[in-house]
């Protein structure tokens, strides 16, 4: 009986929403072709993949590649670096744009607001390659930041050669590039808050602080939560393309993360199967994190991603 009831529901839904599904079709097709078909290729994580033999012809080895990774000398360091870097990214990547958006929201002068918004947003437009070269230029001993550190603390080398320097460099440069961009999303959310709410609060005698706490922040909370959940999904990828452009063996101690390890094993050493296995591990862990944060959000707030 349950079954027919469900079937009936599906039939009604189809009749009513056919147009919607036709609109959705090309979108789903895109995802099937460009994202789900390659996912099948992950089978090589369980093989001794030989490019010439392909995914279907290579020898199946079960979880051997995963076991190699778990037993690897670097397993725990990779996990640690990945988690620390992503936790820092999560913290600053979510909080600093909220802060900037709230500060900008308090500004009355339109021209000033627009100027600051423009200035802080511009770095987002810069490509990764260029950002990486900017960082290198800046933290070199002759560069503006490197020069400062060398005169203050006597650090004669590029700041990128100190293991302790890597995380701050990543965090600060990410903040420089991304804060203005994400703040714009919050600003949009802020401007979506009903002005009448503020009027009502003012009539009730609520000060700026109370308005912030009770109207503004709840107003953008759904946006914050959605971005936060999304960010946890990216958590384990921690912008590895940037790390690859910036790191060097001397600072692997803090800079080597799972994704860079995958890149080296896969694209530099052509150990496809091993790289695919580590990548798959990374992806599964990331998936678990998103589901967890989504579940938490659903549990404790009204907002969730799915």
């Amino acid at each position: 009986m349950q079954g027919t009831k469900r079937e009936g529901k599906i039939r009604v839904d189809w009749r009513r929403n056919r147009t919607y599904y036709f609109l959705l079709l090309p979108v789903l097709l895109y995802y099937v072709v460009f994202l789900y078909i390659p996912m099948g290729g992950l089978a090589m994580a369980f093989e001794h993949f030989s490019p010439a033999k392909g995914v279907f012809g290579s020898a199946f080895v079960g979880f051997a590649n995963f076991v190699t990774f778990f037993k690897s000398y670097y397993f725990w360091r990779l996990i640690r670096n990945t988690l620390i870097l992503s936790a820092l990214g999560l913290m600053f990547g979510v909080l600093s744009p909220v802060g900037l958006a709230l500060l900008l929201n308090e500004v009355k002068g339109r021209l000033f607001k627009k100027t600051i918004q423009t200035a802080t947003y511009i770095p987002y437009f810069i490509s990764l390659v260029v950002v990486a070269s900017l960082i290198k230029i800046f933290v070199a001993p002759e560069g503006p930041v490197g020069n400062l550190f060398s005169s203050l603390f006597g650090l004669d080398n590029s700041l990128l050669t100190y293991a302790n320097g890597f995380r701050p460099i990543m965090v600060v440069s990410d903040m420089w590039q991304m804060t203005g961009y994400i703040a714009v999303i919050y600003l949009a959310a802020l401007s979506g808050i009903d002005h009448e709410q503020y009027e009502a609060a003012r009539i009730d005698g609520a000060g700026h602080w109370k308005q912030l706490l009770h109207i503004t922040i709840p107003g953008i909370a759904p946006t914050i939560i959605v971005l936060f959940i999304l960010r946890t999904g990216q958590l384990l990828n921690v912008g590895y393309e940037k790390i690859i452009l910036l790191y060097s063996p001397g600072i692997y101690e803090t800079a080597d993360v799972i994704s860079t390890f995958v890149y080296r094993k896969g694209l530099l050493e052509f150990n496809y199967s091993y790289a695919a296995a580590v990548g798959l591990f990374n992806a599964v862990a990331g998936l678990a994190m998103v589901l967890l944060s989504n579940w938490l959000a659903k549990r404790y707030t009204d907002t969730r991603l799915f």
Binding site: L23, P38, A119, N147
Partner: protein
């Protein structure tokens, strides 16, 4: 509606002043790297090599770096290619994103949540480089613009942003249109899209930037020099700087000193179009958000 500054309380006044100062500092910090690079790019190569610290004014003056950069035909061709690919990719991506976001913002769809999961899942889980490459080559897209235009044309992230926006449009609007006899397509094209114009612009802009700045796709899929994008060309110029030498037995006078300078010039050349276009896009962009917000 707003209180004039002089009538504000003292703590509030202090906050406003402090806030303005803080924001100004942040604004300056955001811009200083550009000033540094701009000034370095028009400096004299030898003085530049001897310089340490921030450059707020050119050290000597020379345009030799720019001259070298612009002498290359590849840069101009790269510009044209990037514009074409970006246009194609953004148009396609925006249309798909609008369709997807709108449909998935409807609350009464039986498959809605499942489809949403199907899409967001790809943000945290995908096949990686090799399987994707095999797919593209089986499609016969290697060394064609299609490989750059289509495979990365939409992102689940932007779809979610737009979906979130569609969700804020009151259902009552749709219901009343429904009562007036409008069908779903008419509602989408006549009501929803005009209402969402601002956020569509935002999403399109994100696509433009992503496409403009991307080089990895172009690097692995394009082979013919006449198809190269700007970022790829820039990469190669930087590479060439490093490698001219690999076979040159004794030529290339003072290339190495100029090479440093060229780095700055190449950076400027790659970001200038964005910087120039930005104020124009931004006006529409920000005011669009505000209009959308008031109407929504």
């Amino acid at each position: 509606m707003d209180t004039p500054f002089r009538k504000e309380s003292l703590p509030r006044k202090t906050f406003i002043v402090f806030n303005a100062l803080l924001l100004s500092v942040l604004g300056v910090i955001a811009l200083i790297p550009f000033v540094h690079v701009l000034m370095a790019s028009i400096s004299d190569p030898f003085k530049l090599a001897a310089n340490t610290g921030l450059i707020l004014w050119p050290k000597g003056f020379s345009l030799v770096g720019y001259q070298k950069v612009f002498e290359s035909v590849e840069i101009w061709r790269g510009y044209l290619n990037t514009i074409l690919y970006t246009a194609g990719s953004v148009a396609l991506g925006s249309v798909l994103t609008i369709f997807g976001a709108y449909v998935l913002s409807r609350r009464n769809l039986y498959w809605g949540n499942k489809a949403m999961f199907f899409i967001t899942f790809t943000m945290i889980f995908n096949g990686g480089l090799i399987p994707t490459y095999i797919l593209i080559s089986r499609l016969g897209w290697i060394d064609t613009p299609l490989a750059v235009i289509i495979p990365n044309c939409m992102s689940a992230f932007n779809l979610i942003i737009m979906r979130t926006y569609f969700q804020t449009i009151p259902e009552s609007l749709e219901e009343s249109a429904n009562l007036d006899g409008a069908n779903k397509l008419q509602i989408l094209f006549r009501i929803m899209i005009p209402l969402a114009k601002s956020s569509i612009a935002v999403v399109a802009l994100f696509y433009v930037i992503a496409q403009w700045n991307s080089y990895f796709q172009a690097m692995i899929y394009l082979r013919s020099a006449n198809l190269f994008t700007l970022q790829l060309v820039i990469q190669q110029i930087l590479l060439k700087n490093q490698a001219t030498t690999a076979s040159a037995s004794g030529s290339s006078a003072y290339v190495s000193v100029v090479a440093e300078l060229i780095k700055y010039c190449v950076i400027m050349v790659s970001i200038i179009p964005m910087l120039v276009a930005y104020p124009f896009i931004q006006r529409y962009f920000v005011s669009g958000i505000m209009v959308g917000a008031v109407k929504g």
